[in-house]
Structures are given as structure tokens and as C-alpha cells.
């Protein structure tokens, strides 16, 4: 049977099992770990299929779900979603591990929700029916709301509500867009929609396209989050428990960028191209702004959160260059950000477990009592600032290269973010890890324990792997993004009769588009 279905069903079943299984917290942890590990192993099985399938879908299941309106359970994987699914299934067991001691109350519920979150997130990436996509989108929202609201820190209710309201505000618009599309086309199915657009069966007027694009875009942009819709993110991160932050930063934010690539570009190609200029502007502002604000954060989690704003700005920039390089880089950067920022949040969580503070000022000289912790943090920071041979470099390089193909000024501006990222990460590292060790730190901070190693080591390995042997990952991504680019072009040709989109930038390279 199609492994995708198992990957969706098992965590959901695990959710029920963990919730209902009698017994103590230990059982819940073990069960959650077992389920998530099995899911991860299963998800590895997706790789050969996707590699073999090239740009087409693999592991397809297409069943009718609701007859009227025609909603189908249509799931499949391609190069775009493959690695995101794997990232999700990899991070879930890691989140189980890092919460082992961190979560000490309502343990069962915590792990159950974590598994439910996994289902929701994987579902978002594999759904090919717009309605199903929306369902999973919302399903993933609920567990995260509870993870923040129940297991968070002092201002958790505020943060959870802010998170929920921001995201909901966006997704309502998207739902409206989805329903409007259904009314126009009679289907929720993504591939049928594409066919209709290609064949001309579905002709959206420019105004319609623009409004629909906007509806989808705002929803995705909030999730990304794109400047200036990002203010929910620092609050949510600061208040969320460690595992919540990891899932939020590593996977949930990718829902937004994934949505942009999967839906906004191919479904509304003209509107997307027309809007590229101001979206890129926002992305670049986000890159610089996020980095600058990161620089002055006294709170470690806030710092990492703002750095996420900066990093995801690169992803959005890459997407809206409409170049193979940019799109490849953007997709790769999604994964990179998931790995390195996830690792950063894990490490900050480790620190919090020791010292019960997120303020940088509460730390100092950690390298003396905990050299390995310091080493791992340094590697992660370096990955995050885009050092070559570590993962982020590849993504950022490709994105900037893609931008350079379109408009060199974009590259110049965005590349300053790379410089600034070194500032804030190294300053943080200096303040927290180097220097003399104050007494409280010496007392509380111990080096990594085996369980903690198990949580962080896979990510460290991935950072190096993704930075050096990129060919392990790239072929499916390139195939998928080439397909999507092609899609936007096909539409552009088809819609020639409409007033053509003005050239985005003067001096575009001939081979750029």
C-alpha cells in the first residue's frame, strides 16, 4: 500500500493510542517515540519512488472522499514535497526526544498532540486536493495552538491567541479563494485545476487572478512570515516549549513557502509575476530587517525567531525570481532552515532545561563547563550564518545567484543579510558561550547527555551532508521546480491575449526566464 497513507495514518493512530493508552508518562513517551520512528523509516521509503518519477507525481492515492462538493482524498509526493515530508518525519522523533524531560506535566496529551501535528504537517505537503490541503492546514494549526497555550511560558495564552488569530485571518482568505476557485472550475483537485488552466477551460480574468493570488498569498505570507506580517512569530517562539518552537520554525513556516511554490505560482502565474517586484521588496526588507532586529535581542529565542524572518526572506526572494536557480535554492533553503534553525531551537531548549532562562544575559562562559554543547552550538550557528560546507550556504548562494540573474541590485541588498547574520550569531555565541563562567552557570550547566546527543547529532550530520553532498537532494528538487517554472511559463504564453505583464526588471538576462 502507498506509504504516504501510512505516514498520514500512523501518527493519527498514534495520537489516539498515546491519548488512550493507560499508564504513566513513560509509556506515552516510548509509544510516541516508537510511532514517530516507524513513520520516519516508512517515509524513507518514499525516496526511490520520487527519484524514479522525475517531475511527475509518485505514490499517488486518489479516492473520493465527499461526493458533493467533489472533494477527493488525493495525495502524492514529488520532489518539492518529498524532503519536506522527510524533514517533518525526522523532526518529530527528535522533538519527542528533546521533550523527554522538558515536558513534565500533561505528558500524554503533549505527545499525542505532537503526533497529531505530524499528521497535519505531512498532510499539508502531500495533499493535492485544495480542500484536503485546507483541512490539513487547519489540522496542523490546532495542536500547535495547544502546544503553545498549554506548555508554554508565562505569556503563553497571549502568544497562542496571537498565533492563532494571525494564521486564521490568513487561512480564512485562502478558504474563500479555494471556494471561489471551486465555483469557477468545479473541482478542488490540484492537477485537474492545472489542466484546466493549461487547456484554457478555466479562464480567470486578470482581476480575478489578482484577487485570488492575493488571498492565497496573504495566507501564505503570514505563515512564512513575510515582513511586515511577522510579529506573531517572535512571541510564539518565545512562549512555545522547545519542541513547539522546533516544529514551528522548521516545518510550519515552510507551509507558507511551500504553498507559495505549489499553489500561488502555478495557479496564478500572471498575477505572481506581476506581483514579484513588491514581494521581492518585502522579502529583502525582511532579510535586512530581521537581521538587524536579531542583532539587538536580549532573548535567545527571539533572536533566533527574527533570524528566521531573515532566512525565510531568502526563500521568498528565491521563489519570486522565477529562475531555476532561485527556485531550487529556495526549496533547498527551506530544508536548510528547517535543519539549522531547528537545531538552534533544540540547543536553546537544552540551555533552558539547565538554567531556566532564555535571556542571553543569564549565561556566559558555557564553553568551560560544557565544551561539547558549545561546539555543537557553534557548528549550528555557523551553519545558520551560511558558512560553506554547511547547509545554509548552498541555499543562500543559489537564491542570491538566482536573484542576480534577474536584478543584481536585489542580490547586493539581500547579501548584506549574510554579513549581518554573522554579527548576531557570533555576538550571541560570544556572550553566552565564551568568556569567564559566572557561578550560576557553572553550577547548573552540564554537558550534553546521551539523549540530548541523540536529539542533535542527526541534525549536525545533516548540516554537513547537505552542505557538501548536495546531489543527494537536488535532482528531485530541480525536477519539481523546473516543472513548476514550466507551468508558469505555459500560462504566460497562453494568456498572451491579455495585457502582457510588464517586464519585471530592466536588463533581464536573456537566459534568465
Amino acid at each position: 500500500m502507498n506509504p504516504v497513507n501510512w505516514i498520514l495514518a500512523l501518527p493519527a493512530a498514534g495520537f489516539l493510542a498515546v491519548l488512550l493508552w493507560p499508564g504513566r508518562a513513560e509509556t506515552a513517551r516510548a509509544l510516541a517515540l516508537a510511532v514517530s520512528l516507524v513513520v520516519f523509516v516508512l517515509s524513507l521509503g518514499l525516496i526511490p519512488g520520487v527519484w524514479g518519477a522525475g517531475a511527475s507525481w509518485s505514490h499517488v492515492t486518489d479516492l473520493p472522499w465527499i461526493e458533493s462538493p467533489a472533494i477527493r482524498y488525493h495525495v502524492a509526493v514529488d520532489g518539492l514535497s518529498l524532503w519536506l515530508v522527510l524533514l517533518t518525519t525526522l523532526l518529530t522523533p527528535i522533538c519527542v526526544l528533546i521533550s523527554w524531560r522538558y515536558i513534565d506535566r500533561r505528558v500524554k496529551e503533549f505527545y499525542a498532540l505532537l503526533l497529531l501535528l505530524e499528521t497535519g504537517l505531512v498532510g499539508v505537503f502531500v495533499a493535492l486536493d485544495l480542500f484536503l490541503f485546507y483541512v490539513f492546514w487547519e489540522v496542523s494549526l490546532v495542536p500547535m495552538y495547544f502546544l503553545i497555550g498549554v506548555w508554554g511560558h508565562e505569556r503563553r495564552i497571549y502568544a497562542a491567541v496571537k498565533f492563532f488569530l494571525f494564521t486564521m485571518a490568513g487561512s480564512v482568505l485562502m478558504l474563500g479563494g479555494i471556494i471561489y476557485l471551486y465555483n469557477r472550475s468545479g473541482t478542488f483537485d490540484y492537477s485537474i485545476l492545472l489542466e484546466q488552466i493549461n487547456s484554457g477551460a478555466l479562464m480567470l480574468t486578470p482581476l480575478e487572478q489578482r484577487l485570488l493570488f492575493l488571498a492565497f498569498f496573504i495566507s501564505f505570507a503570514i505563515k512564512v512570515p513575510l515582513f511586515p506580517l511577522h510579529t506573531w512569530l517572535p512571541d510564539a517562539h518565545v512562549e512555545a516549549p522547545s519542541a513547539g518552537s522546533v516544529m514551528l520554525a522548521s516545518v510550519m513556516l515552510k507551509m507558507g513557502t511551500y504553498g507559495l511554490v505549489r499553489y500561488s505560482l502555478p495557479l496564478f502565474p500572471n498575477a505572481a509575476r506581476q506581483s514579484a517586484d513588491w514581494i521581492v521588496t518585502l522579502a529583502i526588507i525582511g532579510i535586512i530587517y530581521g537581521a538587524l532586529v536579531s542583532m539587538v535581542q536580549p532573548n535567545m529565542k527571539k533572536l533566533v525567531a527574527y533570524s528566521s524572518v531573515s532566512h525565510l526572506g531568502f526563500v521568498v526572494l528565491g521563489i519570486f525570481t522565477f529562475t531555476q536557480l532561485g527556485l531550487d535554492g529556495a526549496v533547498y533553503q527551506m530544508l536548510n532552515h528547517g535543519v539549522s534553525t531547528g537545531a538552534l531551537f533544540i540547543l536553546v531548549g537544552y540551555l533552558y532545561e539547565r538554567r531556566h532562562s532564555l535571556e542571553t544575559a543569564a549565561y556566559g562562559g558555557i564553553a568551560t563547563p560544557a565544551p561539547w554543547l558549545a561546539t555543537v552550538f557553534l557548528i549550528t550557528s555557523l551553519a545558520s550564518v551560511g558558512l560553506p560546507m554547511l547547509n545554509n550556504f548552498v541555499g543562500e548562494f543559489l537564491v542570491l545567484q538566482g536573484a542576480a540573474q534577474v536584478n543584481f541590485r536585489w542580490t547586493v541588498l539581500a547579501a548584506t543579510g549574510v554579513v549581518l547574520s554573522a554579527c548576531y550569531m557570533l555576538w550571541l555565541y560570544q556572550k553566552a558561550f565564551l568568556g569567564a563562567t559566572p557561578e550560576p552557570v557553572r553550577e547548573h550547566v552540564y554537558d550534553l547527555r546521551p539523549r540530548e546527543w541523540a536529539g542533535i547529532l542527526p541534525l549536525i550530520v545533516l548540516m554537513v551532508w547537505m552542505g557538501t553532498l548536495t546531489r543527494t537532494f537536488f535532482p528531485p528538487i530541480s525536477a519539481a521546480s523546473a516543472q513548476i517554472l514550466e507551468q508558469t511559463k505555459v500560462n504566460a504564453e497562453f494568456l498572451v491575449s491579455r495585457p502582457a505583464a510588464p517586464p519585471l526588471v530592466a536588463g533581464v538576462m536573456p537566459d534568465a526566464r
Binding site: 494571525f166 511586515p228 511577522h230 510579529t231 530587517y289 538587524l292 532586529v293 542583532m295 539587538v296 535581542q297 529562475t323 531555476q324 536557480l325 531550487d328 535554492g329 562562559g365 564553553a367 568551560t368 565544551p371 561546539t375 555557523l382 558558512l387 560553506p388 560546507m389 548552498v394 548562494f397 543559489l398 542570491l400 545567484q401 538566482g402 542576480a404 540573474q405 543584481f408 542580490t411 547586493v412 547579501a415 548584506t416 549574510v418 554579513v419 554573522a422 554579527c423 557570533l426 555576538w427 560570544q430 558561550f433 565564551l434 568568556g435 569567564a436 557538501t468 553532498l469 548536495t470 546531489r471 537536488f474 530541480s478 538576462m509 537566459d511
Partner: protein
């Protein structure tokens, strides 16, 4: 297949072994791994070069594709040509000597394994930089040496000054790398790739740019990278601070190898620069300005390592001047001799510091020549080499540069000669202050162990005789031919300048002690400005760092993020609340109120149904 990959891979393996297991094994094992890996790497370089013969064409080895996407394909590809061969020998050779030296120097320090692991990591990245056959792979080494430099400057991480200096080095280098990466982006888009042969042939296919154009832009952006790495104006500020690291680090990274990477890169990109004469002029002028300014600062410093650090900046400026005026071979030649004598200067200084248990202030030394004679002798060798006294190594390389500069524009030559005089002066000033006169310190000085003296002696030999190495002739075929020009008069002038500097140092610091202080007092404000390094650090801090940090904090975070954006969101929310006052009242949490609303809703629905004819 020569398995070039082994050259960097061996130190990498050393790094991994020492980094992971170093804490648990004895110093002997650490030494074996660290020095053994570098020695093997050196041997492998020798073996490879022997096997490859005269290297008339580059030897290229391709391993795997690193990045491939769209129009871009970057392989991991190593190449050896004559330039690389020279660099390989310098890096592994000097590197090996400094590793051996470190056994003695670092013997009493904590974090022994960490030190050697980082040193090996540096070797790995430096060799990658040198071997790379495309700009991106070079960039890997480029950033990687920056990382190792960061790690090693911050080696004494308990000291805030050390970690701050490390951060400064990394961030300033990042600014340079910013330029480098922009250059790469332009290359991919306009020149079709990053492989050296491809870029160069594309560049040569374009017309020579007498007005600023694409190639000039690329060349200048690359030069921004070089100013960061090779400590040129305006990004030289990190190098003097980098002396916070252990002295062998200063010798290896901040004198002999890493900082010369910028010179190597420009020499490597010679075909590109050759097409962009304006960029070359910029390189030459910036290089000369750096040489001059750093030399003036070097005149006044009292920290022995700071003196040599500014000397390094100054000498790097010389090399830049060389490549800027087209004397690439000369620049590389100076790079090689500089690697010998500057490494020797630093190692000698390290030996002095070691002898005095950590004292670095020249004013607290003096009269050491009898107490640590070997160190003294070797430092004098280094001094005569850097001062350009014939027939020692510095004379040959510096002369080549100055002659080329004169051929380009005479004023470059005259400033260069003045700088050479200053160089001789401040180096010997340091030597005289440390070794002559009476001892001013409290510690009992002792000569360093043989593991330290051995490398000193070897380097001293090379400093003295290195000028006879045929580096320039070996490299000549690689570079666009410059006309041979030899003017004995100019040579004599520069030698006299060097001797004058030396003599002045003797006069002021040995013959008439105390005169120097009076002169300094007479010069007053000017002396203070120079002594404080022209207040450049303070200027950068006030003009760039503080505004950015303060602005980010006050304006962006507090005002923009918390004020405007959240304010706007809250504003929308409160307006919605005002509009929806009635709706809000509905949400009272009172079940019966809800029921009443439901009731009203159903009535309305019924009526609507009636009107719409649903109920007929």
C-alpha cells in the same frame, strides 16, 4: 590521478581525530596526529610535484559535482599549476614548521588538543583554497580559513578581548566575503560559470576595459574580498587585534599564509585583472596606501606582536602593490619570502614572549641578546631579510616589486622606498628595544626548547637564502609578460633607504637611548594620532557599528516592530472591535445568551426561507 584530495584531507582527518578524541588522549598522541597529518600532507605535496614534473599545463582532478542547478554547475575540482605548487609548498612547509614549534610553545597551555585541531582545520581550508579550480571552491577555503582564524584568535576564550577580536576578524572578513560573493554572482551571470579556465577565457574574449565596465566591477568586488582577507585599507582593522591569538597562530595564519590569500587570489585572477586596468590601479594604490599607513603605525607601537602585525599589514600592502602594477610573479615571490621572514619574526617574538612568561611590552624587555642568543640571532636574520638588505631574501622580492612600481608610475616607487625605510626602522627598533640595553622586566628569561628553536633556525636559513629561490622565473610563464626592466640606480636607492632605516633605529634606540621619547614628545598630537592608529577603530565604531546597533534597537525593534506593526495590527483589531461591538457583546460566555441568539437566528432563517420561497 595524483590523489590531490589527500593533501587537504590529511589535515582534515587530523582535525577530526583531535577534535573528537583529543580530550582523552595524551599529548604525544595529539602531536603525532596533528603534526603527522601535516607532515604527511607536506610529503604528499612533494611527491605529487615530483610526479607532475615541470607543470607546463595545470594538472586537474575532478571528484564530484558539488552543486548543480539550472545554469550553474560547480564541481569539486582540484588543480595544480605552478602558482598552486608554490603556494602548496609554502603552506605545508611553513605550516609544518609552525606546528612543530607549537609543541614547545603551547606545551603549558590548556586546550592543547583544541589548538592543534584548529590548526589542522586551518591547514585543510587553506589547502582547499589553494587547490581549488573554481571560485566557489576557493570561496569555501576562503571562508573556512576565516573560520579557523576566528577559532584561533578566540583560542583564549576566557578573555573578552580575545573573543571580541575573533568576532571582529570574522565579521570584517565577512564584509570582504560579501564583495567576493557578489563577484561570483556576476561571473555566473555574465561570464557563464565559476571555473577558472572558463571565467578567464570569457574575460579574455571581452575587450580590455579602459572605462569602468563589467570586468572592472568584478575585479573590484574581488578586491573587496581581498581587502578583508589580506587586511588592506579599509578593512585592515581586524589584523592587529588578531594578535590576541597564540603566537604560532599569528605566525601561521596572520603572517605567513591566510592573509596572503588575497594576494594569491588576485594573482590567480590575473587574466581577469589584466582586462581591467582601472581595477589594477585601485589595487596598487590601495596596496601602497596600506603599506605606508601601516608602516607609520608600526613606528610607534610598543607591543612586540602589534609591531609585527602592522608590519604584516604593510608587507601585504606591498604585495598588493605588486599585483596591482602587474608584477604578479614578484608579488608571489614576496609572498614566499615574507612567509619565511614574517613567520620567523613572529615565532621569534613568540620565543621572546615564551622566555618572559607572556610579556609582550617592548618597554619591559631589553638586553635579552645574551639571555636568549639563538632567538636573537634568528630575529636579526629575519630583520635583515625584511629590511631589504642584500643579499637576503627580502631584498630580491621587494626590489622586484619596487622596480615594477617604478615602471608603472615613479611616485609609487618613491612612496614604496619611504615605506621600506620605515619598515627597516620599526623592525630594528623592536629588535633593539628587546635585545639591547638593560633588562627592564622581572621574570627570569630562559631560552626556548629545541622544538621551538629548530623551526626558528630552519626559517632563518630560508629568510637569509630564500631570495635565491627562482620563484619569479618559475611563475613567469603563468602571467602576462611584463617587460624586463632593471635599473641599478633604483636598486641602490632602495637599499640605502633600508640601511638608513636600520641606522636610524640604531641611533635612536642603541646609541642615543631616550632621544626617541623626546622626539615623540616634540611631535605631540601627531604622535598621539599615529600611536592611536589614526583612531580608525573608534571612527568605525562611532560611524557604523553604533548607529546600526542603536538604530536597530530603538528604531526597528522598539518603534517599528513593537510600535508600528503590532500597533497597526492592534489598531485593525480595535477598529474591528469597535465595529463589532454588538458581536463582542454576544460573546459573553453566557450559555443562555447564546441560546437567545440561536433562537433569533433560526427565526430569521425561517423568515428568509419563507421569502425565498423555500417553504412555498
Amino acid at each position: 590521478m595524483q590523489h590531490l584530495w589527500l593533501i587537504p584531507a590529511l589535515p582534515l582527518a587530523g582535525f577530526l581525530v583531535n577534535g573528537i578524541f583529543g580530550r582523552r588522549v595524551s599529548k604525544g598522541v595529539i602531536n603525532l596526529v596533528a603534526i603527522g597529518s601535516v607532515a604527511l600532507s607536506f610529503v604528499w605535496v612533494l611527491k605529487t610535484l615530483a610526479a607532475l614534473g615541470p607543470l607546463e599545463t595545470p594538472h586537474v582532478e575532478r571528484y564530484f559535482t558539488w552543486i548543480e542547478s539550472g545554469i550553474l554547475s560547480v564541481p569539486v575540482e582540484f588543480a595544480v599549476d605552478r602558482l598552486t605548487a608554490v603556494m602548496l609548498l609554502v603552506v605545508t612547509g611553513v605550516g609544518l614548521l609552525i606546528h612543530i614549534y607549537s609543541i614547545g610553545y603551547m606545551g603549558h597551555e590548556g586546550g592543547y588538543h583544541r589548538f592543534f585541531a584548529f590548526m589542522n582545520l586551518f591547514m585543510f581550508f587553506m589547502l582547499t583554497l589553494v587547490l581549488a579550480n573554481n571560485y566557489l571552491l576557493m570561496f569555501v577555503g576562503w571562508e573556512g580559513v576565516g573560520l579557523s582564524s576566528y577559532l584561533l584568535i578566540g583560542f583564549y576564550f576566557l578573555r573578552k578581548s580575545a573573543t571580541t577580536a575573533a568576532n571582529k576578524a570574522f565579521i570584517v572578513n565577512r564584509i570582504g566575503d560579501f564583495g567576493f560573493s557578489l563577484a561570483m554572482f556576476l561571473m555566473v551571470v555574465r561570464l557563464g560559470g565559476l571555473d577558472f579556465p572558463r571565467v578567464f577565457s570569457a574575460a579574455q574574449a571581452m575587450p580590455r576595459e579602459t572605462d569602468p565596465g563589467l570586468l572592472t566591477l568584478i575585479a573590484l568586488l574581488l578586491f573587496v574580498g581581498a581587502t578583508g582577507k589580506s587586511a588592506q585599507i579599509p578593512l585592515y582593522v581586524w589584523l592587529p587585534d588578531a594578535m590576541e591569538g597564540p603566537t604560532p597562530v599569528s605566525a601561521l595564519i596572520h603572517a605567513a599564509t591566510m592573509v596572503t590569500a588575497g594576494v594569491y587570489m588576485i594573482a590567480r585572477s590575473a587574466p581577469l585583472y589584466q582586462q581591467a586596468p582601472i581595477a589594477m590601479d585601485v589595487v596598487a594604490v590601495v596596496g601602497l596606501a596600506t603599506a605606508f599607513v601601516a608602516a607609520t603605525i608600526g613606528l610607534t607601537q610598543f607591543d612586540i606582536k602589534k609591531v609585527f602585525a602592522y608590519s604584516t599589514v604593510s608587507q601585504l600592502g606591498y604585495m598588493m602593490l605588486a599585483v596591482g602594477v602587474g608584477a604578479y610573479a614578484g608579488g608571489i615571490f614576496h609572498l614566499v619570502t615574507h612567509a619565511f621572514f614574517k613567520a620567523l619574526l613572529f615565532l621569534g617574538a613568540g620565543s621572546v614572549i615564551h622566555a618572559l612568561a607572556g610579556e609582550q611590552d617592548l618597554r619591559k624587555m631589553g638586553g635579552l641578546r645574551r639571555k636568549i642568543p639563538v632567538t636573537f640571532a634568528t630575529l636579526v636574520c629575519a630583520g635583515v631579510a625584511i629590511a631589504g638588505i642584500p643579499p637576503f631574501s627580502g631584498f630580491f622580492s621587494k626590489d622586484e616589486i619596487l622596480l615594477a612600481a617604478h615602471h608603472h608610475a615613479p611616485w609609487l616607487y618613491w612612496v614604496g622606498v619611504l615605506t621600506a625605510a620605515m619598515t627597516a626602522f620599526y623592525v630594528f627598533r623592536a629588535i633593539f628595544l628587546a635585545f639591547f640595553g638593560d633588562y627592564q622586566g622581572e621574570h627570569h628569561p630562559h631560552e626556548s626548547p629545541p622544538s621551538m628553536l629548530g623551526p626558528l633556525v630552519v626559517l632563518a636559513a630560508f629568510s637569509l637564502a630564500g631570495g635565491f629561490l627562482p620563484v619569479s622565473r618559475f611563475l613567469e610563464p603563468l602571467f602576462p609578460a611584463g617587460e624586463a626592466h632593471h635599473d641599478p640606480a633604483l636598486v641602490v636607492v632602495s637599499v640605502i633607504a633600508g640601511l638608513l632605516g636600520l641606522g636610524l633605529a640604531w641611533y635612536l634606540y642603541v646609541a642615543r637611548r631616550g632621544l626617541a621619547d623626546r622626539i615623540a614628545a616634540r611631535l605631540g598630537a601627531l604622535y598621539q594620532v599615529v600611536y592611536n592608529k589614526y583612531f580608525v577603530d573608534e571612527l568605525y565604531n562611532a560611524a557604523i557599528v553604533q548607529p546600526v546597533v542603536k538604530g536597530s534597537e530603538a528604531l526597528l525593534w522598539r518603534r517599528m516592530d513593537a510600535g508600528v506593526i503590532d500597533g497597526a495590527v492592534n489598531g485593525i483589531a480595535s477598529r474591528a472591535r469597535a465595529i463589532g461591538a454588538v458581536l463582542r457583546l454576544m460573546q459573553s460566555g453566557n450559555i443562555r445568551s447564546y441560546a437567545a441568539w440561536v433562537l433569533m437566528g433560526s427565526v430569521v432563517a425561517l423568515i428568509a426561507l419563507g421569502f425565498s420561497g423555500g417553504a412555498r
